[in-house]
Symmetry: C2
């Protein structure tokens, strides 16, 4: 398989896995409702995505870098809402 | 950074993102309850993980292969339950 085809396959993979995460991200960003989300799960996920990003930077692999920059941004945003709602929000 | 350290970082990344997916997978496999899951989201995710796996095989990157074989197995199992419950299960 030619190199550019492998790279395209990587971008298709990255687009699909990131796209599957988008509805949850959009819902949480719009509603700020994080009751249904697990703090430990999102902390683990966000840390994992950060490690993938650093891994991609060391490998100089653009597919891994682009995929994980976008996912890290979304995951970090959701995690921020979750931490705020869990520890700082005044109970109604 | 030495090569083996980069590979360890990759495995840490893979372990964290796969671990964050495990509670959902275990819950669904135990309860077979997929009402809270989105069919389109899981189809997109499973297809994306499959593409990542093929991408990893072409790159001969063991970290990407191992991470995505495990995630693909879990995602495919959950997707199978979702498809069965959506299209084949008799309504009570």
């Amino acid at each position: 398989m030619p190199d550019y085809f492998v790279e395209i396959l990587g971008y298709v993979a990255a687009t699909l896995t990131t796209a599957s995460f988008l509805p949850q991200a959009i819902l949480t960003i719009r509603t700020r409702d994080t009751d249904g989300l697990s703090l430990s799960m999102y902390s683990t996920f966000t840390l994992g995505v950060l490690c993938w990003l650093i891994y991609g930077i060391y490998l100089k692999n653009n597919v891994i870098i682009v995929a994980n920059v976008i996912t890290l941004f979304l995951a970090f945003l959701i995690l921020s809402f979750k931490i705020y709602n869990t520890f700082f929000k005044k109970k109604a």
